[in-house]
Amino acid sequence: MTAVLSAWPQHASFLERHFNSCDEHDASFINTLAGEVLALAGDELEAFAGDYRWMCTLFLKHELIYRRSRQLRHAGSDEIRSLYYDNATDMARYMHGLLVSQLTWPQHLGAQLIFKRHFLPRLGAGYRYLEIGPGHGVTMAVVGADTRCASLTGYDISPASIILTRDALARLGVTRKVDLHLQDICAAPVHDARFDAICISQVLELVSSPAAAIAHLVDVLDRDGLLFVNAPVEMRAPDHIRVWHDSAEVDALLTSAGLEVEARYKAHVDQVNHDDRQGYSYLVLARRATDSRP
């Protein structure tokens, strides 16, 4: 955190509150995650910290505009794609910022903890893993280190992000084969593959049709497969084209696609009072409904 504080000394009180409210049982995981951030940043750590500050400021500015108008700044996924996903420079800065936020934002750190603690243990030996938008690579690297995992696949809409993910996984010591495909999840996957475990984290609010995205995931989810969904509720970001106002909206999306929710968790922005109104990452584990299994 020294680099973050060097780039942004005013952030000290926030970070102090954040880490002081973390459970001491999570210290080992947090240290591992911090090591991964350091490994990915390498000798560009100060630049990554600067990109984190840039991203946080960008979020704050967009949030003020949203709260004033109750409307997101960008309306469509095509606009977002040209502004962000096809812009290699800003995409890299954004990814660097998101990477650091996995450690420093309660709602991101909490999601990582729930993925590791509640999702991975439910998977059986030899599971085939698919992640939508693996981005900074930290989540996929956790899976890559799991000896029970048989295969790693990632779909992403951004060529720049795919390059970044591949480089990140190499830096994090993932030496096994990883299939990364340019794939819009709102379109039917062109690769004929099925998966036992699928992670879609902070993607559904970016896509033109969340229903189509979930339907395509259900199509490639194996009969007893498990889906991990992370949807930010009452949180906005510059590339969001949709706001989830209630976790029930996400539940309805999943059940409409023939899924049954197995477990629900929240990782709050306000990790002291757990105030839903301040926003939270909504984490859902879901399987095919019993009567819809092929």
Binding site: Q10, S13, C56, L60, E63, L64, R67
Partner: protein, 94 residues
């Protein structure tokens, strides 16, 4: 959200603005009243722990409602809006 009573922006000088901000933050963060009362106009409110992102956004909207101005921080660096004087400059004299 803490409430800020309506007041013409022409009637607000920096001292009034400072008191307005302190009153708002004291109501929004009663646990920090003593620290907030000591805020100075050139002190970074984030660094002082007086605001977090959520409180800052609430403060901006309350100040907009009171002054009738739009606080446009889109092109600004954080140092330009994270002090009370910085906010005063973009709120009242914008």
């Amino acid at each position: 959200m803490a409430r800020v009573e309506s007041l013409s922006k022409r009637a607000m000088d920096l001292d009034t603005f400072l008191r307005t901000v302190i009153d708002f933050l004291s109501e929004a963060r009663p646990d920090l009243t003593a620290r907030i009362a000591q805020l100075e106009v050139d002190e970074d409110m984030f660094e002082a722990g007086a605001v977090d992102s959520a409180t800052f956004l609430d403060l901006c909207l309350a100040l907009e409602a009171r002054t009738g101005s739009i606080i446009d921080i889109t092109e600004l660096e954080p140092e330009q809006f994270s002090t009370i004087r910085g906010l005063f400059d973009v709120t009242v004299t914008a």
